[in-house]
C-alpha cells in the first residue's frame, strides 16, 4: 500500500530523516514508535506532502507521490490526522466534517460517511451544531478522526491520537481505531509515543531513533524485544 524508500527530509539546514525505508501492507495497522524528536511526525508530514522530501521515494499504490502537493495526495485516498489534531476551532462540528468531505462530490456518499462517523462517535452527532473549539480534548480527537474518515480514505495516518487524553478515553479511541481498520478495511499508519498501546493494536512496527529506523518487525516480537522493552515499554 505504502512504501518509503530511503526517504530523507529536513527543516532548513537540519536533517530530520536520514534515509528511512518502511512498508505498510494493505489492510494492516503499522506503527512507528520512538522518542520525542525522533522524526515520527516528520515522516507523516513528508508522506502527506506538508514537508517536501529531500531524497528518496514515497510509493503509494506503486506510484511515487514524493513532490506532489498535499491536496493531490489527499485525492488519492490518503488521509492524515495531524499532531495536535488541527481541527478548525472556528467552524462548527458539522462544518469540520464537511471540510473532511471537501473532495467528495456525491451527496449520498457524503451522507453515508456521515452516518458511519456518527455511528462510530455518537458524541459528535449530539454536538454537531457546536463550535468545534468548545469541545473537550477527547471529543476533538474524535472529530479529527471523524473528519479524516469523511474523505473515505484508503490509507489513514494518525499522529499521536492518545496525546493529552485521559487513560479511559485513550482506550476508547484505540478501540475505534481497530474497528475502523477491521470494519472498513482502511490501512493505518500509527505514530505513537505510547509504545505499549501502539504495539498492542498494530500488526507490525518500526522503531525510529534520531531520524533512522533502528528496529523493525512483528509487533508481538517487538514487544518481547529486550531493547524495546527497556527503552520504550518501561522495562
Amino acid at each position: 500500500m505504502l512504501e518509503l524508500r530511503n526517504l530523507t527530509a529536513s527543516y532548513g539546514a537540519i536533517t530530520a530523516l536520514h534515509g528511512i525505508s518502511l512498508s505498510v501492507p494493505p489492510g494492516r495497522i503499522v506503527t512507528l514508535i520512538g522518542a520525542n524528536g525522533a522524526g515520527k511526525t516528520t515522516t507523516l508530514k513528508a508522506i502527506s506532502g506538508l514537508l517536501r522530501a529531500r531524497r528518496g521515494e514515497i510509493l503509494y499504490d506503486g506510484k511515487n507521490i514524493a513532490g506532489l502537493p498535499t491536496h493531490q495526495i489527499v485525492k488519492l485516498g490518503l488521509s492524515h490526522v495531524p499532531e495536535g489534531r488541527m481541527i478548525f476551532v472556528n467552524l462548527t462540528v458539522m462544518e469540520n466534517l464537511q471540510m473532511g468531505a471537501y473532495l467528495q462530490k456525491d451527496r449520498q456518499a457524503i451522507q453515508r460517511e456521515l452516518d458511519y462517523v456518527f455511528a462510530t462517535f455518537p458524541r459528535l452527532q449530539e454536538r454537531r451544531q457546536q463550535i468545534a473549539g468548545t469541545l473537550s480534548g477527547g471529543e476533538q480527537q474524535m472529530l479529527a478522526i471523524g473528519r479524516a474518515l469523511m474523505s473515505k480514505p484508503k490509507f489513514l495516518m494518525l499522529d499521536e491520537p492518545s496525546l493529552g487524553l485521559a487513560p479511559l478515553l485513550v482506550k476508547t479511541i484505540f478501540e475505534k481505531i481497530i474497528e475502523i481498520n477491521r470494519q472498513q478495511g482502511i490501512t493505518i499508519l500509527l505514530v505513537e509515543q505510547n509504545a505499549n498501546l501502539a504495539l498492542e493494536v498494530s500488526h507490525s512496527g518500526y522503531v525510529l531513533e534520531t531520524g533512522k529506523i533502528t528496529l523493525q518487525g512483528d509487533s508481538a516480537a517487538l514487544r518481547r524485544n529486550p531493547q524495546v522493552r527497556s527503552a520504550y515499554l518501561g522495562g
Binding site: L50, H80, M86, V89, N90, Q98, M99, L103
Partner: protein, 301 residues
C-alpha cells in the same frame, strides 16, 4: 437635529465605501497574514475601469439609467477581480513562505507600480467621471437632503455585504476560506487547493474594491491615479479598528470612521477631516490593539 442627521447620512455613505475596501484588506490578512498595501490602488483601477467602460456601455444601454450603472459596476468588478488574481499570482505567490517583511515591501512596490503606471497610462490630471445613474430628486424633508447617489451607495453596499456573507458562510469555497484562515496546513490535508482559495480571496476583495471605486466616483466624480491612497489608508485603519481578519469588524470600522469624519468636518472643521482616521488608529492601538471585534491572537511558537 437636521444637521446631525445630515452628517450621519453623509458619514454612512462614505463609511460604506471604506467598509467595502476594508473587507479586502481584512480577508487577505485573514488568509495570508499580510497587509496588501496595493489594495487602495485596485479601488482606483475600479473607478478607471468604470470611466473607460461607461461610454462603451452607453452604446448598448440608455445612459444614465439604473441598468447602465449596474452594468458598469459589474464589469468593473470583474475586471478588478482578474487584476487582483494577477497581482497575487505574479507578485505575492512567488514569495509564499518568505519573511512577512519581504511580502510587505513587495506590496508597497506593487502599489507604487499601479499608481505611476496609472499616471502614465491614464494621465495625471483628474478626469471627470460620467454620470451613470440619473440624479433622482429625493427627500428634502425640512432642510435635510439625501441625494439619490447616497441612497445608491448605501443600497449597493448593503446588497454586496449580503452576497459576501452568503459566500463566506454558506458556500463550499467560503468554508474553505474560513478553514484556511484558521490553519492552512489542516485545510490542505482536507484536499483544499490552497492556491485556488487564495486566488479566489483576492478576486473577491478586489471586486469589492472596484465596487467601492465606482460608488466613490459616483459621489465624488473627479478621479485620478492617486485617488486610492487616502481612502486605501483610511480603509486599512477601518480594518484594524474593527479587528483585522474579522469581516463584520471591517464593516463596523468603515462606518465608524466615515461617520466620525463627517461629524468632525461638520461640527468642528473640515481641515481636520483626514486626520481623524489616523487619530483613531493611534487610539485603538493604545487601547485595544486587537480591534473592536478582533480576538487576541496567540503567537504560535
Amino acid at each position: 437635529m437636521t444637521e446631525f442627521l445630515q452628517q450621519l447620512i453623509n458619514g454612512l455613505a462614505f463609511g460604506s465605501i471604506l467598509a467595502l475596501i476594508a473587507l479586502g484588506y481584512t480577508m487577505v490578512y485573514g488568509i495570508l497574514r499580510f497587509i496588501n498595501f496595493a489594495h487602495g490602488d485596485v479601488f482606483m483601477l475600479g473607478a478607471f475601469a468604470g470611466f473607460y467602460l461607461a461610454p462603451k456601455i452607453a452604446r448598448v444601454l440608455p445612459t444614465p439609467s439604473i441598468g447602465s450603472g449596474l452594468a458598469v459596476l459589474f464589469a468593473a468588478m470583474l475586471i478588478c477581480a482578474a487584476i487582483g488574481v494577477v497581482i497575487e499570482r505574479f507578485a505575492y505567490r512567488p514569495l509564499r513562505g518568505r519573511p512577512k517583511l519581504t511580502v510587505l515591501i513587495t506590496a508597497i512596490g506593487v502599489s507604487l507600480f499601479l499608481e505611476y503606471t496609472g499616471q502614465f497610462v491614464f494621465g495625471a490630471a483628474p478626469k471627470s467621471f460620467p454620470r451613470l445613474i440619473p440624479d433622482y430628486p429625493i427627500a428634502h424633508v425640512g432642510g435635510l437632503s439625501v441625494t439619490s447617489d447616497q441612497i445608491i451607495v448605501l443600497s449597493v453596499t448593503g446588497l454586496l455585504l449580503v452576497a459576501l456573507r452568503f459566500i463566506v458562510l454558506k458556500t463550499k469555497i467560503g468554508m474553505a476560506m474560513r478553514a484556511l484562515s484558521f490553519n492552512p496546513e489542516a485545510a490542505a490535508l482536507m484536499g483544499v487547493n490552497t492556491d485556488i482559495v487564495i486566488s479566489f480571496t483576492f478576486a473577491l476583495g478586489s471586486a469589492l474594491a472596484a465596487a467601492a471605486g465606482i460608488l466613490f466616483a459616483i459621489n465624488y466624480p473627479a478621479i485620478d491615479p492617486l485617488m486610492g491612497i487616502l481612502p486605501g489608508l483610511k480603509a486599512f485603519v477601518a480594518a484594524v479598528l474593527g479587528g483585522i481578519g474579522n469581516l463584520p469588524g471591517a464593516v463596523l470600522g468603515g462606518l465608524i470612521i466615515g461617520v466620525t469624519e463627517a461629524f468632525v468636518s461638520g461640527y468642528i472643521s473640515s481641515t481636520y477631516r483626514d486626520a481623524i482616521a489616523f487619530g483613531v488608529l493611534i487610539l485603538i492601538l493604545l487601547v485595544k490593539p486587537s480591534g473592536l471585534l478582533g480576538k487576541k491572537e496567540v503567537e504560535k511558537v
